[in-house]
Amino acid sequence: MAEICCGVETAALKSCEPGSRAARRRRMEIRRLSFVAGAEDEPSEKRQRMDGGSSSGSAGESGTTPGGSSSLKPPVMASPELGTSGRRPRFGMAAVCGRRRDMEDALSIRPDFVRRNDRVSARHHFFGVFDGHGCSHVASLCSDRMHQVVAEEVETLASGAATSPQAWRVAMERSFARVDAEAVDGSGERPSQDCRCELQPPRCDHVGSTAVVAVVSPTRIVVANCGDSRAVLCRNGAPIPLSSDHKPDREDELQRIEAAGGRVIYWDGARVLGVLAMSRAIGDSYLKPYVISEPEVTVLDREEGDECLILASDGLWDVVSNETACDIARMCLQGGGGGDDEEEEAAGEGDGLGDASCSDAAVLLTKLALARQSADNISVVVVDLRKKCKRAPTTPTMTNS
């Protein structure tokens, strides 16, 4: 099952996955077998949950992209001090091309992405949504590289600094600047089947991407944003936006652009120089210095009432309000968060299954955006933040393999 998830998931996560038709067919055949096998020996309810859960199977796989994983994977050490914080994050995601004919969104989910040592002892999980424009390759670069760069920046922090909000701000700002530099000079480029650019990357300067990144640790959420994707926290039943969209007509952004000598022209909405409908982005070297890659960073302590975190591209936010998104995600989590969760978690330890309710939330939000005629790519990540301390801890029945 884990292998199937791997194949399916890698394709979902990585927008540049080449995936030949034959390979796809092979995967589908495997998938089909698994449906059939399930049909024979499992009641349908259980099967549905497994179906839902396998989409979030990436918990185990998304961090293992070819070529970049070994250095990131922490040494397997069961640190007793991690206690409840040592769990995998529960998350779900959905990403569709939707009504567009190009997929320019990319997701990146990297559980436990920072190497732990005496300076960084807690597990940190990385979630990112990148909405490309012009082409998909800058968004792909972000989904391949951003977590690595953030991890490097965090690892270089002075001892104890990983707990300081200011240190996180600096680390995020540095990371965005570094990835932006890679996007602009094309050094981090990888060949991509979906890349429609005729020009080679260094000269392909009309391409960029939004970036909304959330790093979740046991005690804190750090969100860095650049562009018009958005992160929203559901706390005590109400939405708290953790980022503010960078639109060219946002008062302070307008002033910044004009101070830099740029203009915002209203042509099918407010656009920098009449071209780009957002005021910050990774890439887009031809619009510098008006369009900048500097993120706005929010650092927030986690609280008891935190329910979930939603990251999504504007394909969702254009048609679904923060309130509605929050309501739907909460409802799915509450619906799926019944007493049988422990079992799901135990099963999930090894292969990443067990985030069915988060997947349901992400899928339902995506479908709602489709129902509301969203014309864009839609990407949604839902992270369950509820602490499960109310229940008695169970002895793990499965070991990490």
């Binding site: 038709r21 091309c97 995506t366 479908k367 129902a371």
Partner: protein, 264 residues
């Protein structure tokens, strides 16, 4: 010649109507005493799929005979012709149909958020209940289908541009010279000009090849969706809606032509 082409399409419409009736019966009996088993639904889907394959097989002989005819088929009405892509429907339309059906009615459920109606919609066995892993597969299929569609579209463009090139253009110029110097030699369109026939033949053969490639993509996309990704009940829903859409477009396009005074 045209009679066989028209007959092939008319026969296909008949089969579509008959299959649609069967699918609708299966759907309407779903809550009754004669509810169909998964196996029966799967067989029904396979039957429709078989009919697609048989139709495309019959069509293939005609496509090989006259590829160009399929780019603007005289047996289709104006509206049908205007939405054709290389002789048929766009394969990506199947996916758009899934998006529409899987999100249909969610807004109404949203009003009942307090109740659990919204959540139950996602547990539905129909397309509204499209699951997370299914959505991943649909999206993956969507993207590979779009790539393939774009590839064929670009080949059509190249082929069309090739008309302004060899082998046709030199012959046009040569015939022009002949006409100037000796009016008794070869007229364009006298039918007996082997060189012209051969030149035209090279284009029409390429067109046939493109329609065949497009037909293969249509079939393959439908096959992947209906057999590999969707559960039987979802597949029945997609097939029924797809056929309704096709037959309605055919009917209303026909009415439109009649009302504008150019009947088919």
């Amino acid at each position: 010649m045209e009679g066989r082409f028209l007959a092939c399409y008319e026969e296909w419409l008949q089969i579509q109507r008959a299959d649609l009736n069967e699918l609708l019966q299966a759907i309407s009996s779903q809550n009754g005493s004669r509810a169909r088993s998964e196996m029966e639904l799967r067989e029904l889907v396979e039957k429709s799929m078989r009919h697609y394959e048989e139709y495309y097989e019959r069509r293939r002989n005609l496509v090989q005979e006259d590829g160009p005819a399929f780019f603007a088929p005289p047996w289709c009405n104006s509206f049908e012709k205007s939405i054709l892509w290389v002789g048929g429907c766009r394969p990506s339309m199947f996916i758009r149909l899934i998006y529409s059906l899987s999100s249909a009615g969610l807004e109404a459920h949203l009003d009942n958020l307090a109740g659990r109606a919204f959540a139950s919609a996602s547990n539905s066995e129909g397309l509204v209940g499209l699951s997370a892993p299914q959505l991943v597969l649909v999206n993956e299929l969507h993207r590979s289908t779009l790539l393939e569609e774009n590839r064929i579209t670009s080949q059509v463009a190249t082929l069309q541009e090739n008309v302004a090139d060899r082998p046709l253009l030199p012959i046009v110029k040569e015939r022009q010279r002949w006409r100037r110097s000796d009016t008794s030699r070869g007229e364009i369109g006298d039918g007996g000009d082997a060189e012209v026939v051969a030149a035209m033949g090279s284009y029409t053969a390429a067109m046939s090849g493109l329609v065949e490639a497009a037909d293969r993509l249509r079939l393959e996309t439908a096959r992947t969706l209906l057999s590999d990704i969707l559960r039987p009940k979802q597949a029945v829903e997609l097939l029924a809606t797809g056929k309704q859409l096709h037959l309605s477009v055919h009917e209303w396009g026909h009415q439109r032509d009649l009302s504008r005074g150019h009947g088919v």
